[in-house]
Symmetry: D2
Subunit: 346 residues, 4 copies
């Protein structure tokens, strides 16, 4: 089968690979029908994720059709249409039982990381019963791809951890795909204002179209003073970090109101100064989280009822066989005005 294979830092190849087979009674083999590329895949290609070894098929998002299931799989059978969660969950370990499936003792984020992933014609899914979801009839299949990772990540790590509530002023730092997914799911709680901050005017335009109420291009270094002006010196109730660098996390600290929440989504590569010399008395809460995928069912209901339209996040469409071009486009997001790309395997 065709698959996109990591060949070491800076190198990837679309090549023929053996089709995966069942290895465990709880496995399923899924024929991929649609997949996508994540910012994390770009990190991997830079060599930033040491757990990913050469020869690994990349990708941890996608939907497909069940091809075959192991003997202990009870909730899926050949022919079922499924969403693949980026988080593999055994549902048995103490972490899974607490709902913290990201830290599953036998799963977590393993697809396209420590086992082969979804940017291929077929993929093996361990613990299939609790790592796949049924796609309802008549659902928009492109919308379903957004449930693998980006929507639950924005919702769980940003919106739920940030405790967004009606009437709040929310700032989202970073208007890339994950920041925009956070924006879409923040709206489920009807905050009074969503301030979107980025350095790319195109992305800010998109954010406006998605419902952001205020836009700040932070290129001039004045984001903090503008936000403090907008909030009459009070700061924001919720600051969501969706970039992953010290400057943006620092901005969160400088704009948070007393009693506010800073919710980190970004994948960080270095430590950040935490200004406890001022924050110690400010009654703030800072959270970090790797998505657990425990809200995917809730988000699915929200989509099927027409209240969340994630296909807005999709900017480009390719065939799976064009995956190299898709990476080219997604990897030059600013130039290409790319958000999420869909790769279809017919």
């Amino acid at each position: 089968m065709n698959a996109l294979v990591y060949q070491g830092p800076g190198k990837k190849n679309l090549q023929n690979m053996p089709r995966p087979a069942l290895q465990d009674a709880a496995d399923a083999i899924v024929r991929i029908t649609k997949t996508t590329i994540c910012g994390t895949d770009l990190h991997i290609l830079k060599g930033d994720v040491p757990t990913v070894k050469e020869g690994r098929i990349l990708g941890h998002e996608g939907i497909g059709i069940i091809e075959e299931v192991g003997t202990s799989v009870t909730r899926f059978r050949k022919g079922d249409s499924v969403i693949i969660s980026c988080i593999t969950s055994c549902a048995k370990c103490e972490y899974c039982r607490r709902g913290m499936c990201s830290h599953c003792e036998q799963g977590g984020w393993i697809l396209g990381n420590t086992i082969d992933g979804t940017q291929a014609e077929f993929v093996r899914i361990p613990w299939a019963d609790t790592s796949l979801l049924h796609i309802p009839e008549n659902a928009d299949t492109e919308a379903m791809v957004m449930l693998s990772d980006i929507l639950p990540t924005g919702y769980e790590c940003g919106v739920l951890n940030g405790c967004v509530k009606p009437g709040d002023i929310v700032a989202i730092i970073g208007a890339g795909p994950i920041g925009l997914a956070t924006l879409l799911t923040a709206k489920l709680y009807t905050p009074a204002d969503i301030i979107m901050i980025d350095v790319d005017d195109h992305r800010l335009d998109v954010a406006k179209r998605f419902g952001a109420t205020k836009l700040i291009n932070s290129s001039d270094g004045k984001a903090m003073s503008r936000i403090m002006t907008m909030t009459h010196g009070r700061g924001v109730d919720v600051a969501i970090e969706a970039v992953g660098i010290p400057a943006t996390f620092s901005l969160c600290q400088s704009i948070i109101a007393p009693g506010g929440h800073i919710a980190n989504i970004g994948v960080h590569g270095e430590s950040v100064p935490l200004h406890l010399e001022t924050l110690w008395s400010q009654n703030i809460t800072i959270t970090t989280r790797l998505v657990d995928g425990v809200t995917t069912q809730l988000l699915l209901k929200t989509i099927t009822s027409g209240r969340l339209l994630p296909t807005q996040l999709i900017s480009h469409r390719f065939k799976l066989s064009e995956v190299m071009s898709a990476y080219e486009t997604f990897g030059n997001a600013a130039r290409e005005q790319a958000l999420k790309v869909i790769l279809t395997n017919d």
Copy 2:
């Protein structure tokens, strides 16, 4: 009247000062019967708290007898025995209505800071109706002094913010008075283990007597490895910082289990590296808080029912006229084996 007056960095004096008078209809004048010294008072004397000006009477804890009330005070009258909260709350502003009285627009921590405090024979208490509490008949008056600050601080900033629950493994970094008050109130939720970390063996002995299940003298720099061994490599559910320096906050980061809570109590003077490069995916929560005093009534019930014995925190007793000696003792806590000191004004 006699009062302990701040005279600039390193300088304080017990001297005659004018007796305070009512300034506002919501004020009360309280005759102090017992007061105490807080670690924050030592910070002030070092010159670390710029809001405190020369000539200020220090002290934000104590109990006393109402001497006089303003015309709008309805819940207290002359002769009532009262606990003085270290947090003055107008109960009217948006912060107070949200229960975040520490950020009261007209109050917060002002006693012994921006207005004269309690280390004196009399003190003026603004917003008396919502900044004082009645002392029940037959209550142990020394126990009541511990409700001004140290118990609600340990409980709100450490135990509640840390979400301590039955079965948890809790680490408290710092076995000074505030760490010990945290220990006493953590026990209200029956964690499985309370690990106490300090550099002073005497304080660790006290912690053991108070119910700590494991003790670590961190002088040798091996606290982290010991805790990871104790917890079979998993880390602790709750890490409470009760010192206020980078090293102890960093220790919290290194011992926290995935999904755990780091609750900061310490007053910090500088920023601390936050290790987002590892913590971003660990689903942890970090909180800061200045005590709000919203649980004082709950703690009072716990004391009067005999389930919390805060007088254990008291190591030395003085007359108010001996306040200079009391500072000498409290300021040399390790040498004097001092915890909280009680100053009585007869």
Copy 3:
């Protein structure tokens, strides 16, 4: 001044009454500019509320202009535009400090009940600082009247107590003004479905216009079976009772899914059979609540940001001098297709 006065069961009169004067330092006198009529006022007129005595000026909702304040009032002054909360809160008692202002030891629901109310040219508001809210500049004044009672009641007693969340199926029994206010505020949390149940087709039409996704006219006694069909036999996540009779509370019990919430808003006059013989094992939660008014500020932000449009609730407008006609209209709501009426005092 003109005022609407209760004259015993079935009797009311618009008559001249003495203008109220300050009685306490915490009082304010408000000149009413707009008021409205509540379903509770009709209950009073039936003689169902024994705390209301003959000679009482009715009404607990409205907005106005501060005419005069007592000496301890600090947050309002003559000329301020204010919303009057139906709940008077001293902010000092234990209930108020817990946010349960409905049970304020010196307040609660007293306006138009145990003290004179708002259907008059002037009203005296006790504990003015914590029982009034400032109206922002440029706010729609009719929308502000909806913040006195009906919006926080629907939101606190129905939506918050019912724990409405994204993706939920919510049933609201009763499409009168309070049920419709519940519908408007339930939408703040983006449930997947809002099923509205009533016996009046006009009100169901209004509910549809307001965003209900499914309508059931329960006149034929088949509401339960229809809802169970709609939910594939599972039942609803949240059932909100907004009528106040045994039949509607029983319906809630018969349609609630395991793990669901039944939130009672209705004012009941008799007991209701609770079917513990089936519900004991269904993991359900039943709540009751008299509105506390603690979310009025949040709802105000939601209105001023344009995300909640409460003027939809207003069907008729009168002058205050036409209050007798207004009661006639509001009291024949079905025939008059009346929702909330606005009474203006120019």
Copy 4:
């Protein structure tokens, strides 16, 4: 093997039965080492539980040794010592994923109900990986039996649902084994007072020994007035129903303070009048729950750390072969002063 078999209302028999065999890949066969009798077993014998058919082996509690596991069981193997949860959980269905395992689509309470139970030498446990727990080395095995049902039931349905917190006044109606288990687990949250109500003085004596602070023998019908006197007319913060009849649930309603929680544990056979005519405005919360078993691990940690001593609940010990006598004793609990009985299978 020997097993206690239900033979229709009023009839049971200790008889030879075929040893259970694996039926599904997720099954385990457990050799019972200790089991016990539940009040529910007595209900079954009265014919009150129609799902239990003649020929069923009774019992849903116990510990044992794994004898054999199905091919998909990964967390247990032959020889492991295990606690059997009374709730069988597939961990895959939507209810299990929400933590509401009591309503597992393929499990829930099935042992000794719709499939054969634990009062036998061997038992088949479906979904073994998520329905069994490992017994730690050196644990007191009798204490472990209390984790099958009675402790999590008291804790989840009574203490957690009742939101018991430090300083609260808690009333527990019913001092039978389940009421006493509730008392033991309520103490984990250090309420100020635990008032125990029963008609049996012996059980009240036991409650006192277990830590109840106030005792009421309700035989004289004056429980309500006594509790209102004890609480200065205010009522209790939490009322826990642990009997299952209308009179005791009604008592809960009459003693609950505004803002309080009524947590039902009792298995009810008929409906109960809910006094909404008074409670509608009292801001109370009523909960029902069938135990989910989601806190068993937490309670296990609490036991192994020595902070919960459930063996206090055990009054009598028998051999499994004496199970008929054990029922005789347990069924005449008042006369025999029986609490929980332990049946050992050597």
